[in-house]
């Protein structure tokens, strides 16, 4: 990590050098370092491969919004603007959030004893207007992202086929899945540590 690069989790929680939380994070140095390396590998990789910078920041901005995480939303909105996203994409993300709010986790289990725990909830399908603004590839990614965020136990192979049909490659789907999964981690670390720091 370059000395000039600030740690994103520290920044989002507001952890200052020399504080109790700084000392706590220092006790798990590899977790701290590699959370940051993960962030860098997802948002400023050596090679963007099959997923553009706009797509990466758009998905992150959407996930932060789905979590009602204001500071994280602002952080990725800045990244999205810097990635060169069009106004149409940025407007469509707001529209997607307005039409897809939910509370998770929910979803179904394989038929059997766990069926008693099946919990109903929405499966997001982007409206025609939102799809137009996002483009087909990103709209498909948002639908998949919504499932992973709120009802990951509903995942099934046809959801991956829908991404392939919308122009995603197998490797691109792995990167997209890691984006959603990593954000799910980062948002919870930030929320948890912030709560801990304020509960002194």
């Amino acid at each position: 990590m370059s000395a000039a690069e600030s740690d994103v989790i520290d920044t989002l929680v507001g952890i200052k050098p020399g504080t109790t939380l700084d000392a706590i994070r220092a006790r798990r140095p590899d977790a701290r370092t590699h959370a940051q390396v993960s962030f860098r590998a997802l948002f400023t990789p050596q090679d963007l491969g099959d997923v553009s910078a706009v797509e990466r920041f758009a998905v992150a901005r959407f996930i932060a919004g789905l979590h009602d995480a204001a500071e994280i939303t602002a952080f990725y909105a800045d990244g999205l603007a810097a990635s060169g996203a069009s106004d149409a994409v940025r407007t469509a993300i707001d529209a997607a959030l307005a039409e897809s709010r939910a509370t998770g986790p929910y979803g179904r289990y394989p038929a059997g004893p766990l069926s008693a725990e099946d919990t109903a909830g929405p499966a997001y399908r982007a409206s025609a207007e939102t799809t137009h603004g996002l483009g087909r590839r990103l709209a498909a990614a948002f639908e998949h992202t919504h499932m992973l965020v709120f009802h990951p136990r509903d995942a099934a192979a046809p959801a991956l086929q829908a991404l392939l049909d919308a122009g995603w490659s197998t490797t691109g789907i792995v990167t997209l899945s890691q984006l959603v999964a990593f954000l799910s981690f980062q948002i919870r670390v930030v929320a948890g540590l912030r709560t801990l720091s304020r509960a002194a």
């Binding site: 006790r27 140095p29 590899d30 059997g112 990951p152 197998t170 948890g192 709560t195 801990l196 509960a199």
Partner: protein
Amino acid sequence: MTDTTLTPPAHTAPTVFTRDQLDWLPWLEPLAVEALTERHLAGLVDAARAKSPYFRLLARDPDVLGARTRTDKDIFYNPDAGLPRAERELAATATSRSNGCIYCASVHARFAATYSKREADVQRLLDDGVGVELDERWNAIVAASVALTATPVAFGPQHVERLRRAGLDDLAIADVIHAAAFFNWANRLMLSLGEPAAA
């Protein structure tokens, strides 16, 4: 090349949470063992992981996989104080039970049972779900993990208070937060890129 999803071979899907050893069958093509480059192997971290279709699928984005694995190892294996390993595994199990990841829950329930020697309590968490009554310290860890797993996140000062009353210091509470947060990462990959099968 047009990519396509895989149809797993005939198998028995588990329909309950279990501590049994399960297999995991991918829905997308992992990299072939012979196609792994230096960079892929660096992403796998442990060479033995090349045997796993899960890790060979994630190796398609090797830098992210490598960083994910190193984050995971420090959260769960770092022996420097904080939360005992058994209770880090309890948080991972509770998170997986809440999200509904039968595969992840099986692995980490085995670890939780092994390290705590409380097989019956771990099994009740699997059988009855995250509302189960264990003891106050375990109840507090399970409740905190579940609140962290909710979207939007529902973890609040009352969870910190309860963990402190149960005897956790702030490093241990930070370990609960990281263990639950990490399984919100792991569950989503395991659930969405393939499926569990009875071994």
